[in-house]
Structure formats: C-alpha cells, structure tokens
C-alpha cells in the first residue's frame, strides 16, 4: 500500500519538476516545497500510527470547531489571490483551510452516522444535523468564493449519506429538494464567472480564448501526447505557458503530454489501485466507525481525482479541484497523506476489536 502511495507521490514530484521547469527561479522553490510537505505528511502518518483512529470520535467536535475557525479566519484575515479569500498566511506556508475541512467533514459525518445509527435507516429529520455540518462548511467556502470545493463538500455528504442506510422517504425528499435547489442556486447564488464556466463546459470550442481556453489547452496537451508522450521535460504546451495552472489543476495534463498514453495508463493504474485498496480497508474494518471513516476518506480522494481528471480531459468545467497527491499544494498534500495515514491506521487496527 505504502508502495503505491510512494509511487504516486514520486510521480507527482517528477511531474511537478517538469511542470515548473520553465518557470524560472521560483520553480525550484515550488518543487522543494512540495517535497517538504510530502516528507511532513509522511511524518504525520508515522505519528498517526501511534494513535487509535477511534480517538477521533471524542475529538470530533473540537476539531470541527477549529476548522470552522480556520475557515472564518481565512475569510476575514486571509490574503487574497485573484480575488479569492482562500489562504491564511502562517509565515512559512499558506494554509488553505478548505483542504483539512474536507477531511474534517468526513470525520464528522462518519462520527455522526456511527453514533446515530439505529439500524433502521435514517429519517430526513436525522439528516438535518449532517446537512447542517456540511452546510456550514459549504457556505463558508462558497464565500471565499470557491465553488469547486464547496461542491466537494456536497459531494462528500451525498456519497456518505447514500452509503448509510436511509429510509425511502428520505431518499424521495432529498431528490425533490435537489431539483428545487439547483435552479434557485443557479439564478441567485452563482457568480457570473461560475455560471460562465458551466456554460462553456458545454461547448468550450465556442469560446477558445476565454473561459474554455483552459480546457481547450488541456485537451491539446493531453491529446498531443499520443502513445508515448513527448518525453520528460519536453512538453511544449506546459513549458511554453500554453497550459495554465499546470502545476496545480492541470498537473495531469503535463504528465499526459510528456508520458503519452502508456505513461498515463501506468499512472492511472497505480492510482486506482490505491483507491481500490482503500475501499478494501472498508471491508476489512470490524467496526462501523472505521467502515464509515474509510469509505469517507476513499470517496474524498476518489471524487477529487475523478473530477480533476474529467476536467483535464474536457468533460467538466474548470472547478479548481486538485488531483490528490499529484497536484502541487501543501495543504492538499498534507491532508491527503493524513487521510491515507488514517486508512492505514484503520486497517492496522482491524483486528483489535476482536481482541477486546
């Protein structure tokens, strides 16, 4: 397991080097930073190993509260980049609280569903608190504004809620509610550029130099990789700055361009091996909390990966979701590694319950 993780992270670093190759002086800094966070993450995994994941149950609300504070802080105090309030400058690194928030939501939902599980399925009333938990994060992040991550929270909520047993009535109400909320949200809550993103997703070719530009360029980068890629460090789309955000959102485009179909196949194989392994931890776990937690973490990684890949391939509008472990981003890397640490933790302790 660890092998897969290391492999992915290594590929990520290699790719990052290429992606930032032409960037000048700052590029090595970026590379070194990512390396640093990777090592930090590994240390976190080691630390986590010392604890039982079930401690999270007790710490749950405290941790939740801390994350909420961090999110508020980023809104009120945080530096602004391109008009978004997503960061808190902690001096040595900029923390993006929405990342740990994702993991936090998984933990909180897992705790809640575990505690309140009656075995007969949840009623809609019982879903109110999870919705509230999700909602708080959702709104705080939406105000940054970060539609992509906000939707991520909704996604986690949906995944995990569907995973637990629900009464049919609940399901019906949820569907009804969604169909009502979406048009209202479109009209009143989405910013113009967010609407625009969704529109150009439907046909990026119609506006190649503005919002559909990123997607067009990504497709060109990926497609031009052909079978075996252009070669390491030789990706022209990335290096000549045609591909924007090539070390973050579009990191995979760079990989695909340089390593081609063969290289991409290999990468995806390793990545999904990791995900399926995570899903296996679900089954291996002998207590409900572990199951839920594992599932939540896996879906977190899975959905982010899928959304990012679909975006890179031109199936989705640009939403700013990174590819976990691969895209550049200290907060994301740390959070994901911690999540993986937890998975390993769960798996490791699966036999402990029996003993007790």
């Amino acid at each position: 397991m660890l092998v897969a993780v290391l492999l992915i992270a290594a590929m990520g670093l290699i790719n990052l080097y290429s992606a930032t190759y032409a960037g000048g002086a700052s590029s090595t800094t970026v590379f070194i930073r990512q390396l640093f966070f990777f090592l930090a993450g590994l240390s976190c995994i080691m630390i986590i190993h010392l604890f039982d994941y079930r401690l999270l149950l007790t710490w749950n609300y405290i941790l939740y509260g801390i994350v909420v504070c961090l999110l508020l802080a980023s809104l009120l105090l945080g530096g602004s980049i391109a008009g978004t309030q997503r960061w808190i400058n902690l001096g040595f690194f900029r923390l993006q609280p929405s990342e740990p928030a994702k993991l936090m939501l998984v933990i909180s939902l897992a705790s809640y569903y575990y505690r309140k599980d009656t075995g007969r399925g949840f009623t809609i009333g019982q879903l109110l608190i999870p919705m509230a938990l999700t909602g708080v994060f959702f709104i705080l992040v939406l105000m940054q504004p970060d539609l992509g991550t906000a939707m991520m929270f909704a996604g986690i909520f949906i995944s995990m809620t569907l995973f637990v047993k629900l009464k049919w009535s609940t399901i019906g109400i949820i569907f009804g509610g969604c169909s009502a909320v979406i048009p209202i949200g479109w009209q009143f809550f989405l910013k113009p550029y967010q609407k625009q993103r969704i529109m150009t997703f439907l046909s990026p070719e119609s506006d190649p130099t503005n919002s559909g530009y990123h997607i067009m360029q990504s497709k060109i980068a990926v497609g031009s990789g052909l079978k075996f890629g252009k070669g390491y460090l030789k990706g022209t789309q990335g290096h000549l700055h045609f591909l924007p955000e090539r070390h973050t959102d579009f990191a995979f485009s760079v990989w695909a361009e340089e390593w081609g179909f063969a290289g991409s196949l290999f990468f995806l194989a390793v990545y999904f091996f990791m995900i399926l392994w995570g899903l296996n931890v679900c089954l291996a776990s002998r207590d409900k909390f572990g199951v839920l937690l594992a599932f939540g973490i896996v879906s977190l990684i899975f959905w982010q990966a899928i959304i990012n890949l679909l975006m890179v391939m031109g199936f989705l509008p640009v939403v700013g979701i990174p590819l976990p472990l691969f895209s550049y981003g200290g907060s994301s890397l740390l959070t994901t590694l911690i999540g993986i640490g937890l998975l390993m933790n769960i798996r490791m302790r699966r036999n402990q319950v029996r003993k007790n």
């Binding site: 007790t58 052909l226 879906s299 391939m313």
Partner: protein, 631 residues
C-alpha cells in the same frame, strides 16, 4: 463523557447482517469507481490515440506562429538618380488582447504611455472586434523613439502588448509628384481576386493610384516568412528558420526633380497643370498637377474627413489635370489652324488679312481680343500677336473638318497612349460628330470659334505639349513616357525604356518652320503676347492661349478682378526652347488664371530658366573636370 478506554471497549461490533449490507454497498461503490475509470480511460484513448495527431497539430500551431515579413518596397528616383520616395521603419503598438490577463489595466497603462485618451484606444479595440482573434489590434502607429524605448523596457508589465515594425513610405519631398506617385491602401476584396492571392492577404498594403498602383508588381518585392516560437503570453521565445524577403525594384523616372519642384512651387495655390517634355525623345521632365495631394494623409488609410475635403475642394485635387483635365485650347489651337491653312494652301506666309477688331459673319459680330484691331496681319504677326480675325478667315476657308484633320494629326482629339491611368482623349469636333452628338448640323459660324480654339474643342495639357514637341522637332509625335528604367534591389537594370515614335508627319517641315518662327515672335517681338516668357540667353518660342469658360459677352462690362474665380478664363502657355535647336517643350495651364500671357507664361519661364541654368552648370562642371584631367 466516557473515558477513552470505555469508548473503545463499548464500540459496537459489526454484525454479519450489517456486514452483508456493507459488502453490497461497497461493491456498488466499487462498480461506480470502475465505471469512472473506464470513462477516463476511454477518453484518454480518444484524445491521445484516436485524435492524437489532430491535437499534436494543434499543439504545434499553438507554439509556432508564422509571421509574414513585409518586403521593403522599391524606391522612386528621379532622372538623375536622386531618391524621391523611400521607406523608413514605422513602429506600431499592437495588442493581442487574449494574452493580457487584465485588459483594463493594460488600456489604462497604455493611455498614459501613449498619451492617448482611453476612449480612443477602446474605439480601436472595438473596431478590431470583427477581426480574427489572433490578429493583433493596432493601437497606435508610428510611435516616437522615446515611447518605443519605454515600452521595450517595461514589456513584462505589459503582457500582450507588442511592438510591430513595419516599413512605411517616406516622402522625402513631401507632396512632390503626388499625382504621379499615388498612394497605398489596404487591399480590398476585388483587388484580392484580381491579384494572385498567393502573394496577397487581407490587411496587405497595395498601390491604389499612380505609380504605386501601375508598378505594384515591381515595387512590391516578395514577402518573407518568419517562424516565431511563442508562449501563451505572446512573448517571443526564439526565431526559427524562415524565408528572406526580396526587396522591391526601384523606379527611375524621366522626371527632373529640380524642374518638377520649380513647377509645383510656381503652381502653389493654383489649379492646373504643367507638362515639360524632351523634344527629342518624348521623355517627360515635368508632369505636375495642381493642387497636389498630401500623400502623408493617405498613409495607413485616409480619414473620411480628409477624403471628403478632397472631394469638395473646388480645385479638384483628385483630378490629374495633365491628362484628365479637358479644356478648350484657346489660342494655342492657332498652331493647328495655321498648319491646316498652310497645308491646304489657302494661305501663304505672305497672305494678309485685315483685322479691325471684329469680323461680321452671318448676323453676328465676331470680335478680336484686341479691341482696336491689329490692322493688316500676315502669318507671323497673327501668331505673334494672336490675332483672332486672321484665324477666323483661315478657319472659314479651311472648314471645320480640315481643322479636325490637322488637329488629329498633331495629336489632339485622341489619347497619347501614355502609360498612365485615366487618360482622357479630349474632343475635336467635326460636322459628322455634331450631327451625331447634338442632332443638329454644323453652323459655319461655329468654325470661327473652333479656329481660335474655343467652342466644342477640348484638349488635355499633355496633348498640347506633345503637339508642341512635334512642332518643335519637325513633325515627330513621340509617345510620352515617365519611367526611364527599373532597377532591381542589387542595382542591376531590370528594364530599360526607350523612346517610341507614335507618328511621324511627312511633308510639313516647311510649314512647321514658319509656325515656329511665329512663335519666336510671340515671345521676343515687341508686341508678342508671350513676352513674359522671354529669357536673356536663350531664344524661347511659345504661344499664349486664353480659354473662355463663359461667353465674353456676359462679362464685357465687368472688370476682370470682379469676375468670380469659376468664371474666369483658363490661361494657357505652350513653349519650346532653344528655338534654333529645341530641346525642351513646356506647357502650362492655369485654371481660371485669366490671360495666358500674364498667368501661364511666367511659370513656363521659371521652368525654362531652371532647365538652362542647370545645363550651363553641368557644362561648366564638365569643363572644369576636363581641365583638371588635362592638367
């Protein structure tokens, strides 16, 4: 709150029932995951394998921009090889909007740097909205050195903004020869179709008038190609191998710059034409039309305002009066009448008519310009003092069709065939013509008007000059030409132009000699009408003419100054020199100038004076050189 230990022990186990459900759910999740993996892989296949080459092409297109490099246009030189028109670099500010992350900021910055209002810049951006996106928007042309340096130094602050270097026509002598030279403009659809579109694209400059148009193919040269690797900000990374440009060929004109400048200076503020031709070859030394066009106005496209002004100017700057202006020849036509009379034998050099100041014919009185009359007049005096009555008599005897015949022989009434655009043929009426054109028969009285160059007669200044040349050289009508040779970019002569004889008149030498003597008298005799053209060291011969615009009767009572410009007569003077062995012929027409003797003759004098001064200078220098060599 339970203790941690208690929590751990009290953890509910997963029972088998729940476990099965869990398994089902997990299996479902696995399926979902596998589904998405499949989608991703399929898409990847689609992009990289199936359509891979298409994307590869797009990637290549992305990174290498093919740029046309405009060739240096050929220069225009005068007969002595002096450069009249050349090119200089023009630095333009262009903007590729899509390369700028913050367009509004760029516009603000540029507004300051270029010292141009934001509204003006935005207008240019709006106007370019219909162009394909990759074509940069032109924001300001021909920026000065300081601005250029500033922008180059700060170009990382201005992503998307580029300097474009284009050659620009440099008019070294301002409006010199503006009608001949012509101007450039953007190529339009029709022109694109006519020309071989492999060499031309939308946005190219093409000659629209004058030599720029007639010799477009010679002047243009060949475009080169430059392959530039760029990044997505449009910043040029490196230049890949391309194709060199081929500079255009130079045009060397027959025009003498000094004489042309003299003519244009003399015609400043006036409307009309000056033509000077080499008597022995048909080379044009002066080919001027007034008022001139301000050629700088046309660079980059003339503004609507300026174009309207040109159209509305009563002096008609857009008309090339040397060949497009058609005027009654006035008394210059008497050369034809005299020739017709002599050739037909109705007069001899000694035939005398009496001029009392007017002549009665039919029920009308036809006046001579000299109220008191000239008294008894023979050919010499008739020409020298431009007696109308004498020529009425000749005209009557010869009749209109003969007049037309000799007029045509002398080159009037049809195009000279000069290699230039828009030449008009003028009009020499015959009885048949009148029947056809007006539906009425010819009246003999009209012949009188024709005989003195009024009435239906229409000629162009070039025709008059050609006629004068034929008179001066004994009957050879040369085809007038403007280009001496075409020189390629390496200095080799690509094409040489030789004089072409259009018609050689035979059997008229005696008569032409007599007419020449009359014209000598016009300038040098005491009462000659062309006295103002007299030169001290050279014998000038010439003929004045005053073409009526409105019938004299109307304004008989009025003082000349009070007559409105547009009703004033046109002033003609045509000349050649030296009379004994003519070299140059000069014809001047001043629209609404009044009398030929007072308005046109002095201008011809200036040009002749300059010509001979130059000649003397050249001979003096040569003599000096020879002396030095001998010593």
């Amino acid at each position: 709150m339970q203790s941690p230990k208690e929590t751990l022990t009290k953890l509910r186990k997963v029972d088998t029932g729940e476990l099965n459900q869990l398994k089902k759910r997990t299996d479902a999740a696995t399926l979902v995951i596998i589904f998405f993996i499949a989608v991703i892989l399929a898409r990847l296949w689609f992009l990289q394998i199936h359509y891979g080459s298409k994307y590869k092409d797009k990637a290549d297109n992305n990174r290498v921009r093919m740029l046309d490099v405009v060739a240096s246009r050929g220069n225009v030189l005068d007969r002595d090889g002096r450069t009249i028109i050349t090119n200089r670099p023009s630095f333009n500010i262009v903007w590729v909007k899509e390369d700028s992350p913050d367009p509004d900021e760029i516009i603000k910055k540029l507004s300051r740097i270029l010292n141009e209002e934001i509204a003006v810049l935005l207008k240019r951006v709006r106007e370019a909205a219909d162009n394909p996106r990759h074509i940069p928007i032109l924001l300001q042309e021909d920026i000065d050195w300081k601005t250029l340096v500033y922008i180059e130094n700060n170009h990382y602050d201005l992503p998307g903004v580029r300097i474009e270097v284009l050659p620009r026509r440099d008019y070294l002598y301002e409006d010199f020869g503006s009608h001949m030279i012509g101007y450039l403009g953007q190529i339009n659809m029709k022109e694109l179709e006519e020309k071989n579109s492999a060499n031309y694209q939308g946005g190219d400059q093409i000659g629209k008038r004058g030599f720029e148009k007639l010799y477009e193919d010679e002047l243009r040269g060949e475009k080169g190609t430059m392959y530039m690797e760029v990044d997505a900000h449009g910043f040029e990374q490196r230049q890949l191998k391309g194709k060199e440009t081929l500079p255009g060929n130079d045009l060397q004109l027959t025009i003498d710059m000094d004489l042309q400048l003299e003519a244009e200076k003399a015609m400043a503020g006036k409307a009309g034409a000056v033509v000077a031709m080499d008597v022995k070859s048909g080379r044009l030394l002066v080919f001027a039309s007034a008022p001139p066009l301000h050629l700088e106005d046309f660079v980059g496209g003339i503004s609507t305002k300026n174009w309207q002004a040109l159209l509305e100017n009563i002096k008609r700057p857009l008309v090339h009066k040397t060949i497009q202006g058609q005027y009654p020849p006035g008394s210059t036509y008497k050369i034809v009448t005299a020739l017709a009379g002599l050739s037909k034998g109705v007069i001899t050099p000694n035939t005398v008519f009496y001029c009392s100041g007017s002549m009665k014919f039919g029920n009308r009185r036809y006046g001579c310009w000299k109220e008191g009359g000239h008294g008894p007049v023979s050919l010499h005096r008739a020409l020298a003092e431009s007696c109308d009555v004498y020529f009425y008599q000749v005209g009557l005897k010869v009749e209109v069709d003969s007049l037309a015949e000799y007029a045509n022989r002398m080159g009037l009434g049809h195009k000279t065939g000069i290699d230039f655009e828009y030449e008009k043929s003028g009009l020499i009426p015959t009885a048949a013509w009148k029947k056809l054109a007006k539906g009425v028969s010819w009246q003999d009285g009209e012949t009188l008007s024709i005989a003195i160059g009024q009435g239906f007669n229409l000629v162009t200044p070039l025709q008059v000059c050609q006629m004068t040349v034929a008179l001066a050289n004994g009957g050879i009508l040369y085809k007038p030409f403007l280009i001496e040779r075409i020189i390629d970019s390496e200095g080799q002569v690509a094409k040489e132009f030789e004089p072409v004889v259009d018609v050689e008149l035979v059997g008229m030498e005696k008569y032409l000699k007599l007419i020449r003597e009359g014209l000598v008298g016009a300038v040098n005799d005491r009462h000659g009408t062309g006295k103002e053209a007299q030169l001290k060291d050279v014998t000038v011969a010439g003929k004045t003419g005053t073409a009526q615009v409105v019938s004299m009767k109307k304004f008989q009572e009025t003082d000349e100054e009070d007559v409105a410009y547009k009703h004033k007569d046109h002033a003609w003077f045509t000349s050649f020199a030296p009379a004994e062995n003519p070299e140059i012929a000069v014809t001047v027409l001043v629209e609404h100038g009044g009398h030929g003797g007072s308005a046109a003759a002095p201008i011809a004098k200036k040009i002749l004076a300059r010509y001979f001064a130059k000649k003397t200078e050249l001979e003096t220098n040569k003599a000096k050189e020879n002396q030095n060599v001998l010593q």
